[in-house]
Subunit: 482 residues, 2 copies
C-alpha cells in the first residue's frame, strides 16, 4: 500500500476516487510513456482470471487461439474504406526499422481485421474450411489524447475474435452467440449486469454491417461499453478477396465477424463494485478469494496460531480455493485488514489463540456485515457457500442500482431533467434520424448506447421520438458514457 | 493438411524439411509483413501448453505477472551504454502518432529492462520491498534481416522476467534458480536435454554482468540457445536510479536479474523430435494427447462405432487426458492417420466394429512400433502410463543422440575434422582470450555456446586452449548454432 490516507469518497469526486482506489490497490500505475499505463501484479492477476474465464467459454464454441503480426502495412488499412477512415486518426506509425527508413510505413495494429483476413484469403478454399473461428490475446495501440487508467489508454490488452462463415445467417448467429457469451461472462464472473443491443450506424464499428454491444452502468451513472461483437458482412472479404467454393460449386465471398473485450473490464469492475474503502473483487475473479490473518501477541502464541493458520491455508488451497496466508511479521493485524480491504479480497479469516483453542476461525466479508465465527471443520464448504452468495449479492446489488438509475418512456423534458440530476440509462423512442442523434449528443453529451434487445425493451413501446416528436422507429437507450 | 506430398527428408535437406513440417502441421505461416510470422492454432496450442507449464513454475518461485508498455522512449535505451549498443541496430521506431510527428521517437521494445527498471525506481523504497519478482508475457520486435519460422522473426512472443534484489548473492542465486527452472522445463516438458553454463563476454546480454543459458542440440547438430538468465549487476539500477534503504540504513542500488524464453522453443521442439513424417509432440505439451479415429464401412457400423468412440472420448476427457474424437465423415481413416501423424499427436486410438465387439481399442504410438490392442476397461490408466513412458523415451533418445554427437578433449585438428563431418557439441580447453574466440568464429562459424556447468564438464579437465595451445583457463563448448 502506498499510504494510509483516507480515500476521496465516491460522492465527493468519483473520478478522483477511481484513480486513488487503483493506485492504493496497486492495480496499475502511470508510465513514462505518454498515454500508456503499467498493469501491476494485483491488476494483472484480475485480468488473468478474466482471460481464463473467457478463454474457456470461447473454446466451448470451437474457437482456437492464434497469433498475428503486431505490424500491419499501412496500405492494408486503406483497403476497406470505412475502416481506414475510422482508425486513421489513431494510428501509431513505424517509419524506421533496423536503422533504415522503411519503403512502406507499418502501423501498429489498432485492431487486426486487415492482417487476419489477408491470411484467411490464403487458408480458406472450400466450404469445408468454414466456419473458421480464431481468437488472439494481444496488445493494440490507438493513439489517445485524453487517457484514463484501464478505461482509455494508448496501448491496451484485449482479445479479438475473427471468424469466417458460409452465409449471413451463420455469421449473424455467431455474432450473437459471442454477444451472449460476453453477457454471461459479465454477469456470472464480474457480477456486472449489462444490457445487450445493437449500435446505431453512428456508433457502429468502422467496416461492420452491424455492431452489437454489452453496456453497463457505473456507480457514477455513466455508461460503459464493455464488449462489442460485429457482423462484418462481406466488407473485408471483398477487400481481401476471401472467397470459397460453396457446396453448390460457386465461388462466394465469406461472411466475417469480429469481437473483443479489453483490460477496460478491470476498470468496469472497479467502478461497478468499489466502495469508499477500495475495490471489491467478485470471488470468481479474485486473485485471492480468502486471506488469512493470524493474530498473536507473544512468541508462544505466534507459534500456535501460525501452525493452525498454516493448516487452514493448506486445506483451503487443496480444496481449490485461492487462499493467501499473510504471515508478515512486524505488521499489525489492523494494517493487514486495511490493505486486503483496499485490494478487494472477498473473504478474510482471522485466527487468534482463542480461535485455535475453540477450533474456529473468524470470518469477515468484504461486502460488510458482522464478523462471524465458524468451525474449521468443513470450512472449505462454508467458504464456498459464502462466495457463491457474495457473487450473487454483488450482481443483485448492481442490478438494483442500475434499475434505480434507469428511466423509461422519456420525453425531451424528462430526459433533460434526468441528465441534470443524476443521469443513468434513459429509455425512449427514436426516429432513427442520425441528425437527432447528433443533436442530442452535442447538446447533452449523451449518446445512444444501444437499441436494446427485446428482453430490455420497455413494456410500453414508445411511439414517438423523444427528441423531435416524429414517429419512433425503435426504442433507444441514452446515457453519458466513458 | 495443405497437401499429401511426401516431405523432404531430414537427411536430404534439414532446412527444407523444417519448413515443410511446420507448414504441413499448420503450426505457422509466412505473413505479408516482412520478417513477421503468423502462429496458427496448431502452433499456438503448443505455445499455450508451454506457457502454462512455465507460468506455474515461475509462480512457485514467487514471481508475479505484470504488463509494461510496448513503446519505450528512445532516450531510455541510451541510459545503459552497452545495452543501447547491443540493441540499436535492431530497433523498430515509431515516429508518428495520431497523425503528428512525435517530439521524441518511441521504439518498440526489443526487451524491457529500461522501461521496467524505470518503474522499479518508483516502487522500491526499502529492503522490505525486495526481492521484487515480476514477469511479463509479451511480444517484442527485433528487426531481423534473415528470418526463419519460430527461430528468428522480427516479432516474437516471449516471457521476460525482471527482478530486483538486495545484494549480488541474492541476485546470483535467483539467476541460477531460473536457469535451473528452464532446464527442468526443457527436460520434463519438452523432453529436450540441455547443457547449462555461462556465456563468454562476447555472447553476454548487452548490459549484463553475467549471462547463463540452456543450450540444446538439434538433429542437424546445430546448437540452439533455448533460454537465457542474466545477472544484470547494478548496471540498470545505476542507469535508472533504482535505490533502496538497506536494513542498515544506507541507500544502496538494487541488483537486477532478467531472463526469458520465447516461441523459438516451438522451433526447438520440432527440430529435437520431428521425423520424416512430421512433428512429434511430447505428451506433456500436446494440444491433443490422444486422437480417436473411428473405423466403419456401413451406416450401421458407423452408428455402433461412433457411440463406442464417444464413450471412450468422454471417459478419457473426464480423466483429464486431452483427447479429440475425429468424427469427420467423408475422409478415410488413412488420411486421418496421416494428418494426425504430421501434427505429432502422441497416441492414436483406432476403434472399429471388431474392437467394439471385443471391448478393446487399437493403440498406435507416434514414436513407432507395433499397434497394440488394449481393453477399454481401465484405458485412462493404460494411456497415462504410455504417455509417461513416451515422454521419458523421447528425452532418453534425444540425450543419446546428443551424446553421440558430442566430442570431448578436442584439439584444433580434431575440432576442424569434427565440424567437417557432422558437427555437434565440441568440448575443449579455452585460453579465455576473445581474440581466439573471434578467430574460431570467423574461420569455422562455430561459437562458444557456453562455459559448461560442473555437471557437464569433462572428467579430464583440459589444460591447454584447443585453438592456440596456451594455458586453458576453462573448458568451453563449441558448436555452429541457430
Amino acid at each position: 500500500m502506498a499510504d494510509d490516507k483516507k480515500l476521496t469518497t465516491r460522492a465527493a469526486d468519483f473520478s478522483a476516487w477511481y484513480n486513488e482506489v487503483i493506485m492504493r490497490a496497486e492495480l496499475a500505475d502511470y508510465s513514462p510513456v505518454r498515454g500508456c499505463m503499467v498493469i501491476r501484479p494485483n491488476g494483472y492477476a484480475i485480468w488473468e482470471q478474466m482471460q481464463r474465464g473467457l478463454d474457456g467459454m470461447f473454446k466451448e464454441h470451437g474457437v482456437q487461439n492464434a497469433y498475428f503480426p503486431l505490424l500491419i502495412p499501412q496500405s492494408f488499412l486503406s483497403k476497406e474504406a470505412e475502416h481506414v477512415e475510422g482508425f486513421a486518426p489513431e494510428l501509431a506509425v513505424v517509419t524506421h526499422g533496423g536503422g533504415k527508413e522503411l519503403e512502406e510505413p507499418l502501423v501498429i495494429r489498432p485492431t487486426s481485421e486487415t492482417i487476419i483476413y489477408s491470411m484467411y484469403a490464403k487458408w480458406i478454399q472450400s466450404y469445408r474450411d468454414l466456419p473458421m473461428l480464431m481468437n488472439q490475446w494481444a496488445n493494440v495501440v490507438r493513439w489517445e489524447m485524453r487517457t484514463r487508467l484501464f478505461l482509455r489508454t494508448a496501448e491496451f490488452l484485449w482479445q479479438e475474435g475473427h471468424t469466417a462463415h458460409v452465409d449471413e445467417a451463420d455469421a449473424e448467429a455467431f455474432t450473437l452467440t459471442i454477444l451472449a457469451t460476453y453477457r454471461r461472462f459479465a454477469e456470472e464472473y464480474m457480477a456486472m449486469p449489462v444490457i445487450t443491443g445493437r449500435k446505431t450506424d453512428a456508433e457502429r464499428f468502422a467496416g461492420a454491417l452491424r455492431t452489437y454491444c454489452i453496456e453497463a452502468l457505473m456507480q457514477d451513472n455513466k455508461a460503459l461499453q464493455a464488449g462489442t461483437s460485429h457482423n462484418l458482412g462481406q466488407n473485408f472479404a471483398k477487400a481481401f478477396q476471401v472467397t470459397f467454393q460453396s457446396q453448390g460449386g460457386s465461388l462466394d465471398y465469406v461472411w466475417n465477424t469480429s469481437w473483443g473485450v479489453s483490460t477496460r473490464l478491470v476498470g468496469a469492475l472497479v467502478m461497478t463494485h468499489g466502495d469508499d474503502n477500495g475495490i471489491i473483487t467478485p470471488p470468481r475473479l479474485a486473485q485471492y478469494q480468502v486471506v488469512i490473518v493470524p493474530i498473536y501477541k507473544s512468541d508462544e502464541e505466534r507459534a500456535t496460531v501460525l501452525a493452525a493458520a498454516d493448516l487452514v491455508h493448506k486445506e483451503l488451497k487443496s480444496a481449490g480455493i485461492r487462499t493467501h496466508l499473510d504471515a508478515r511479521d512486524g505488521m499489525k493485524p489492523g494494517a493487514k485488514y486495511y490493505e486486503w480491504e483496499g485490494r478487494g479480497v472477498p473473504l478474510r479469516l482471522e485466527i487468534g489463540p482463542r480461535d485455535v483453542a475453540g477450533g474456529t476461525v473468524m470470518l469477515a466479508r468484504r461486502t460488510g456485515g458482522k464478523k462471524q465465527s465458524f468451525p474449521t471443520e468443513g470450512l472449505a464448504r462454508t467458504l464456498r457457500l459464502e462466495m457463491d452468495s457474495m457473487q450473487q449479492e454483488l450482481l443483485d446489488a448492481a442490478r438494483t442500482r442500475r434499475e434505480q438509475n434507469s428511466i423509461r418512456g422519456i420525453t425531451k423534458a424528462s430526459f433533460l431533467d434526468f441528465l441534470e440530476r443524476d443521469g443513468g440509462f434513459a429509455y425512449g423512442g427514436w426516429c432513427g434520424d442520425g441528425k437527432c442523434e447528433a443533436d442530442i449528443k452535442e447538446q447533452t453529451k449523451a449518446t445512444i448506447r444501444c437499441l436494446p434487445d427485446p428482453e430490455f425493451q420497455s413494456e410500453e413501446k414508445p411511439t414517438t421520438c423523444m427528441w423531435c416528436g416524429r414517429l419512433a422507429i425503435t426504442e433507444a437507450v441514452w446515457a453519458r458514457a466513458y
